[in-house]
């Protein structure tokens, strides 16, 4: 497991070049995940894995979503993708067989420990590692928390997550930020403009806003509310209720310190008005997963992936059984535990399929409006934290947006994930996620193969670059008639990412050659 030796001082000699100092050498990456992303990184030509603490190469990341059970079948299915990088970095997926390196002893416990350790000098970030052994690090959020403040990043280094990504991904903070921007917009631009923020249901934070919530609750008797832990994902700890009594009972149980000795303050929850009239297909409820890549918050630069999926709940939707989580939650993680879950079947549709369905059933315009609404959600939510997120040119973030449609085809924002599950549930799902991740790397372009002016890279379309991005109107002749006003957003549209990539790489190469000569 020896580290790949480098020519000493290579960094200094090339450090002042414009677009990163990675010339013709390999790009060295670290990855703390065990799933599709690792396959993507390993299969990437010219990329080399760096072993080290907290990487997939020598430890199982316990806090990682989906865990090893999920990631294993995906890799089996895709043998060739994983078989690269030779024997030095053979992945061990079982905790028992893993021997942590010396300096790591004792830190392979749960990720909770690293959160607890926040602010204290932690043993693992030895200077050697944060020094710049890697060019690209797909780290987990916990690692970033623990190390961000103490590390120094070289010009070219890229790392997943922004320092305070939780501003958007914690449900209570997301709502707080959205409410603030909404208020500001209403003040500055009027009520009409502020209505474009009406894409999240009435939400309160518990326990801090408990009293306002109770007031609101009494105003609208009989409606259903949904309670979610602010910091948990994948449907854990969620329940629905109609009576205040249900929540007082739960409060007793939840806020008793006995349940978890480590917890000193009660966990934050959000309570949200439940969307009682979801749009159903075949009697089933679904939500839409949208992949969004943010490469910079200042200026805000947002890429939207064309593909994604709609997750269907396993059973038919009805409001009679509000205690049946299988009906109401569409998270794969929840559905997986449903008694009649069939993993081969997969309760998923590609977003393309959904768009086609909506177009056929309603109209092309109706479908377009749905997806425009989703664009609006993405942009508005990112703007709401634009000034709050600590921008850093080394950081990028891949969000997984969960959007629900109601029976009037209005999209609602359910939540935003900064670590969307990358564990595949089947072959199609694997292909999708493999494509997304590969295109994330293509957009980041550590290889410096693009011109930097592309509006589309693979399946990603640039939808916001310090302002809305308009779609090309295709042919040269058309542009004479004035620029088109359609946004450069193609969610659920046909994506021939491989073909497109080939085209832009050839174009960029040609351009660079002509500039050089």
């Amino acid at each position: 497991m020896s580290k790949i030796t480098r020519v000493p001082g290579y960094m200094q000699s090339k450090g002042n070049r414009n677009r990163g100092p990675i010339g013709d050498r390999e790009i060295r990456y670290k990855c703390s995940m065990q799933n599709t992303i690792l396959d993507v990184l390993r299969a990437r030509p010219g990329w080399q894995e760096v072993s080290g603490p907290n990487t997939a190469a020598n430890q199982q990341q316990p806090g990682q979503k989906g865990s090893a059970t999920g990631s294993q079948p995906a890799k089996d299915k895709n043998g060739p993708a994983t078989s690269s990088t030779g024997g030095t970095t053979t992945t061990k997926t079982s905790n028992q067989t893993t021997t942590p390196s010396n300096q790591m002893t004792g830190t392979t416990t749960t990720t909770k420990s690293s959160i607890v350790n926040r602010g204290f000098p932690t043993p693992q970030p030895t200077p050697r590692i944060v020094d710049g052994d890697w060019d690209f690090y797909w780290c987990d959020r916990e690692w970033l928390h623990a190390n961000y403040d103490t590390m120094f990043l070289q010009e070219h280094q890229k790392i997943l997550h922004f320092r305070n990504h939780y501003e958007l991904t914690r449900k209570n903070l997301m709502v707080k930020n959205l409410k603030r921007l909404r208020k500001q917009t209403e003040r500055e631009m009027g009520k009409k403009e502020a209505e474009s923020f009406d894409f999240f249901p009435t939400t309160y934070e518990l326990p801090s806003e408990y009293h306002i919530f109770v007031e609101e609750f009494k105003k609208n008797p009989g409606i259903i509310w949904i309670m979610k832990p602010a910091a948990k994902s994948q449907g854990r700890g969620i329940f629905l209720f109609r009576k205040l009594k249900d929540i007082t009972d739960w409060k007793k149980g939840e806020y008793q310190p006995l349940t978890d000795p480590n917890r000193e303050v009660p966990e934050t929850y959000v309570v949200q008005r439940y969307i009682e009239n979801p749009y159903l297909i075949g009697g089933r409820k679904f939500d839409i997963r949208v992949y969004v890549l943010v490469v910079s918050y200042n200026p805000l630069k947002v890429w939207l992936y064309r593909s994604g999926f709609a997750r269907f709940s396993n059973s038919r939707f009805s409001l009679d059984s509000i205690e049946d989580a299988y009906v109401h939650l569409t998270n794969v993680a929840v559905q997986k535990t449903a008694p009649d879950y069939d993993p081969d079947k997969g309760c998923k549709w590609a977003t393309q399929q959904l768009r086609q369905y909506l177009t056929a059933k309603h109209s092309a315009d109706a479908a377009r409006k749905v997806f425009q609404g989703i664009d609006n959600i993405i942009i508005k939510s990112l703007q709401s934290v634009q000034k709050i997120i600590i921008n850093d040119k080394h950081c990028f973030e891949m969000y997984g947006y969960d959007v629900l449609l109601d029976s009037k085809l209005k999209p609602w924002l359910i939540e935003i994930n900064a670590s969307p599950s990358l564990t595949a549930s089947g072959k199609d799902d694997y292909d999708l996620k493999y494509g997304v991740l590969n295109d994330v790397l293509n957009v980041l372009d550590l290889e410096n193969r693009l011109t930097g002016k592309e509006k589309r890279v693979g399946g990603f379309d640039l939808i916001w670059d310090d302002g809305p991005v308009l779609a090309d109107d295709g042919s040269m002749e058309c542009s004479v008639n004035g620029s088109s006003t359609t946004a450069n957003s193609f969610l659920g549209c046909h994506s021939e990412r491989k073909k497109q990539l080939r085209e832009i790489y050839t174009a960029a190469q040609a351009l660079k050659k002509s500039v050089a000569s």
């Binding site: 079947k345 399929q353 056929a360 309603h362 193609f490 021939e496």
Partner: protein, 523 residues
């Protein structure tokens, strides 16, 4: 009218019109025209006619006549031809079909005896109520299906077809010069490629097509916007032949549902809804063994399919009433098949106790549900979905699983596939044949299901656009040949049947329209 309509044909047409609802409707409309004050007695006929044309009745009549022409082929036989000859002129094919029906029925009956379940039984009241209450979610709690198996699969049907021989035609022993290379050994008249090119000339490469030129990479101003605009005009015209002509270049996704209704002449009124409700009541009253077959089929096909699993409940709402629909029996006058008969218990063989089973005369096979599944993308209301499916089935799909010499029967389609492939890709055909993989063995299931479940759903719909608009199933073998051509490089490398099947296992990435163009016009 043109003279090529024989008097007998016209007589039949008039008969049909007179007994249909449009006759009384027209009658009433004409009467209200007469009652109008601006009609002069001296020009009574003219006035009424122009009045009917203005109020849209003329177009309705035209549409009705057009639908009749579409479904009733001009027959060159004299009036006195026996009905069975009209069903199928060749005696040996008629016999083969009868033998095949007997075999299916026997297998159905033996399953009944083996599992000790009746073909039909009345449901107790409690069960009826229960079924009614969960009509829209029939998929959640279906019958026990562990013992049920499909009566037959396309593979079994292919074996029957392979053994067919025309007794009047001797090709010598199997290695003889006159023996065909393929599996279908029947001398049937086919359209050759030149004829097909003329028939499908609207699909030529120099014509813009929905399914090619509307793809996301091409700006909509180039083609798609105009196409949709034109389509809306066509729909406003509400004229069957017009919609059909338009659909030859494919239907835009958002207009397809309406265009297909116009092509098929489906205009629902309260009687249709009532009739469907009646069928539904019949489903609730009686439990049939075929229900279990259909349940099983849906579970085996659509429920397992990423594209269709959401529609499971819809499928039951269509397929179960379908089995009770005795209107379906009419299509057997054009079908070489005959509805199977069963006898009331203890009266086996006594003709007066014979009942048609299932009531619509169609015994489902493995994959039957896939005829309905793609339509679920188009119609939300089960009633509309039902009538569209029934019309498509009685016009086209029934031919895909009965033995007949009809140019669109499965025999001709299979033979057309083999002949085209031999002509265009002789090297490929010979290679596959010599490694023990007759191409038809792979393509047959595609043909029988009209590609549903093999292609991605949007592509199936684009393909069926062409079936409906050209009023022919011949596009299916053309596509099958094109798929073989398209994967030729890999197919030439295979050394076994399984390997060839693997090469052709996943068709979901294919774009059918460019492929058909390739198959038809490239050489």
């Amino acid at each position: 009218m043109d003279s090529h309509f024989s008097p007998a044909y016209l007589q039949n047409l008039l008969q049909t019109l007179k007994s249909s609802k449009i006759y009384t409707d027209l009658h009433n409309a004409a009467q209200s025209e007469i009652a109008k004050t601006n009609v002069r007695v001296s020009e009574l006929k003219k006035g009424v006619q122009s009045g009917l044309a203005a109020s849209g009745w003329e177009r309705k009549l035209r549409n009705t006549i057009y639908q009749y022409l579409q479904t009733h082929a001009l027959s060159s036989h004299p009036l006195s031809t026996p009905a069975e000859h009209i069903k199928e002129p060749f005696v040996y094919l008629r016999k083969a079909q009868q033998a095949w029906e007997k075999r299916i029925l026997k297998s159905l009956n033996s399953m009944c005896t083996e599992l000790n379940i009746p073909l039909a039984r009345k449901r107790p009241d409690k069960e009826q109520k229960d079924l009614l209450s969960r009509w829209t979610e029939l998929g959640t709690d279906g019958p026990d299906l562990s013992q049920i198996r499909p009566v037959y699969a396309p593979k079994d049907f292919l074996e029957v077809i392979m053994c067919l021989q025309n007794p009047n035609y001797n090709a010598g022993d199997s290695s003889g010069t006159y023996t065909l290379w393929g599996l279908v050994q029947l001398p049937l008249k086919l359209n050759d490629i030149n004829r097909l090119r003329i028939l499908y000339s609207d699909m030529a490469i120099n014509q813009c097509q929905t399914g090619v030129d509307d793809s996301g990479d091409i700006p909509p101003e180039m083609f798609d916007s105009d196409r949709v605009k034109l389509g809306k005009k066509v729909i406003a015209g509400d004229h069957g032949p017009l919609a059909q002509e338009y659909a030859k270049k494919g239907c835009p996704v958002s207009l397809r549902a309406e265009l297909w209704c116009q092509i098929l002449g489906i205009e629902l009124d309260e009687f249709d809804t009532l009739y469907y409700e009646q069928l539904k009541a019949n489903v609730i009253a009686h439990d049939l063994l075929v229900d279990s077959l259909l349940y099983k089929d849906v579970k085996l096909t659509a429920t397992n399919d990423d594209q269709y699993f959401v529609f499971e409940d819809y499928l039951y709402q269509i397929l179960l009433p379908f089995t009770r629909d005795t209107e379906m029996l009419k299509h057997f006058s054009r079908n070489s098949a005959s509805p199977p008969k069963s006898y009331i218990r203890g009266k086996l063989g006594v003709e007066e106790f014979a009942v048609i089973y299932p009531p619509n005369g169609v015994i489902p096979f493995h994959g039957f549900a896939m005829y309905v599944a793609p339509l679920c993308y188009l119609y939300k209301e089960p009633v509309k979905l039902y009538y569209v499916f029934r019309e498509i089935y009685t016009r086209y799909f029934f031919r895909l699983h009965s033995i007949s010499s009809h140019p669109q029967g499965i025999l001709c389609l299979s033979l057309l596939f083999e002949t085209l492939l031999q002509t265009h890709e002789p090297e490929l055909f010979f290679h596959l044949k010599s490694v023990g993989c007759q191409p038809l063995k792979i393509a047959f299931k595609w043909l029988v299901r009209a590609f549903s479940g093999y292609l991605s759903s949007d592509q199936v719909l684009l393909l069926w656009d062409r079936v409906l608009s050209y009023n022919s199933l011949e596009i299916l073998p053309i596509l099958a040949v094109a798929i073989f051509s398209f994967r030729k490089t890999n197919l030439l490398k295979v050394q076994s049947y399984n390997a060839a099947e693997a090469v052709l296992a996943d068709l979901t990435t294919l774009q059918v329209i460019p492929l058909i163009q390739l198959g038809l016009f490239s050489k």
